[in-house]
Amino acid sequence: MEKTVGTIKGPILFIENLSVYFSDNPVLQDVSLSLRPGEITVIVGPSGSGKSTLLRAVNRLNEFYPHCRTSGSVHLSIHGKIGDVYKGFLSLPELRQRVGMVFQTPAVFPFSIRKNLTLPLQVNLGVNGSALTARVEQVLRDVGLWDEVKDRLRDDATTLSGGQQQRLCIARMLALEPAILLLDEPTASLDFKSAARIEELLLNLREKYGILAVSHSLAQMRRIADRLCVLRDGRIVQELDQEHLRDPDAFQTFINVAF
């Protein structure tokens, strides 16, 4: 078990020399990265460069897949305590509650809208009764879905549109009160209008959470990213901060180098 090393300020997530292998094939090599609260860091890179693997390394979801081996460290700062998630800092359920994740395609459960939100709350946190109802309403308001679904909470979640389903997935993740959000191309399967709503939502959520996202859209990464990291062949080859993101010439140079 990792020891508590005191209260810290600054980054909420530090990844150091992280390498991930699947069946001894390296997918990530010596990746180091940090994330601060109130910041959106976007990972970009060609397909197969290890972007999703990097996200899944943070909440140890790579272990879901067979023949995965991870080395290096992923330190989290939670309530003033820091520890390496690969050295037992948090149990897996608690880690995944603290580090929420949303996937490329909306992964709603084929239950009612309400049950999609109450299930993890009841099972993970034991929230029930009026507190549960209040939490459901709050997270639906946070993602701007309350007015659209308040009269149909008992309806099947799969009857929602793609964009609504993705916002429901974000609400389900927020209901567990995470500290870090991992977003694996959350707008990739959505139309322009739905994607714009999700982007707006992410910009609002930035205030409260540290967000590590993967995106393929250059325009989107310019709009939402505070920092860009380019991943190629499992290594971070370039980083760009917000100042350079706003500079069209610097951004173009960055894109040329990155891709």
């Binding site: 979801l61 995944r96 996937f103 992964a107 239950f111 309400r114 993890p120 008992r154 567990l176």
Partner: protein
């Protein structure tokens, strides 16, 4: 004109395939009709053989709790109760075991162990029923006689234990097939929400596969009701109401097998057709239930609102 020739060639091929498909359709239609006629013929035969009992007013004798042919009592209700008790008891043992095995296969066991377990379950389907019965007579019956401390060991419980082994692979494989169809993204999403493997199974995968669970249980029940050899070899064949787990019982199927082997004209023989009709209707209802539940739109029932 090469293009025109080619078009004609395609047209000829299309007509030929249409013709052969029409033959296939006719063949399948005839096969379906023969199957349907055979089933209705069996039903008609059973009803026809049961009719004398109705017309002579002796159906009451058959639908009674007393079976003693030498005394003129031909009640088959103890056998009906025996079939029901044995099937339900076997199902109550096999069903939780099947749920546990499926949990192991889908969320707990990995790699070699999962593959080995599945192979073992598949292998169980290939074991002839008589082997289960034979092994049970020589291994389980003496142990049960010892453990229960009452009866001969040929009992409802012994037969139920043996029968549960027989129906276990049916339930496991049907449920496993349904769980395999579930989108892996749901499992990944549950994992990402911090649900433990057991919680994923209990709160996500099993509710999503709820209809598959019902179908697996009903199929297992159907297999248990229809089985003859286990009850014939292990249940003791005493035509009495199953009032205790260590009592010998007789099931409808075993009863039919026993009477047919020794009789062909008496009232006891006549009563078999009522037993046959009962079994026919029971399996028919089970099949109808499975088909009806397979046709429904939603697998997961909506839960209560706030």
């Amino acid at each position: 004109m090469p293009c025109r020739d080619r078009a004609e060639e395609i047209w000829v091929l299309f007509r030929a395939s249409e013709k052969s498909e029409s033959w296939i359709e006719w063949g399948l239609l005839i096969a379906t009709c023969i199957s349907a006629v055979a089933i209705f013929a069996i039903l008609a035969l059973l009803v026809a053989f049961c009719m004398p009992l109705f017309t002579l007013g002796r159906i009451g004798e058959v639908l009674s709790f007393h079976w003693q042919p030498t005394g003129g009592y031909f009640g088959i209700l103890p056998m009906c109760a025996g079939s029901l008790a044995l099937s339900l008891l076997a199902l109550s043992m096999a069903f939780p075991a099947a749920m546990g095995i499926c949990t192991l296969l889908h969320v707990l066991a990995r790699g070699f162990f999962a593959r080995f377990l599945l192979s073992l379950v598949r292998f169980m389907t290939a074991i002839p029923t008589v082997v289960y019965g034979f092994v049970s007579v020589f291994l389980l019956v003496p142990r049960m006689r010892e453990w229960l401390g009452a009866g001969t060991g040929f009992s409802l419980l012994t037969a139920a234990l043996t029968l549960s082994l027989l129906i276990l692979p049916t339930i496991v494989l049907v449920l496993h097939a349904r769980l395999e169809q579930i989108d892996p993204v749901l499992r990944l999403a549950s994992e990402a929400l911090g649900l433990t493997p057991i919680q994923q199974m209990r709160h996500v995968l099993f509710p999503v596969a709820s209809r598959g669970i019902v179908v697996a249980a009903v199929l297992g029940m159907g297999r248990a009701v229809g089985d003859t050899l286990i009850s014939l070899m292990v249940a003791g064949n005493a035509p009495q109401f199953p009032s205790s787990h260590h009592h010998s019982i007789c099931t409808l199927t075993a009863h039919v097998a026993l009477v047919v082997a020794t009789d062909s004209h008496s009232m006891a023989y006549q009563s078999l057709f009522v037993a046959g009709l009962g079994l026919f209707l029971a399996t028919g209802l089970i099949t109808l239930f499975i088909r009806k539940s397979g046709r429904g739109g939603r697998e997961v029932r909506r839960e209560k609102a706030f």
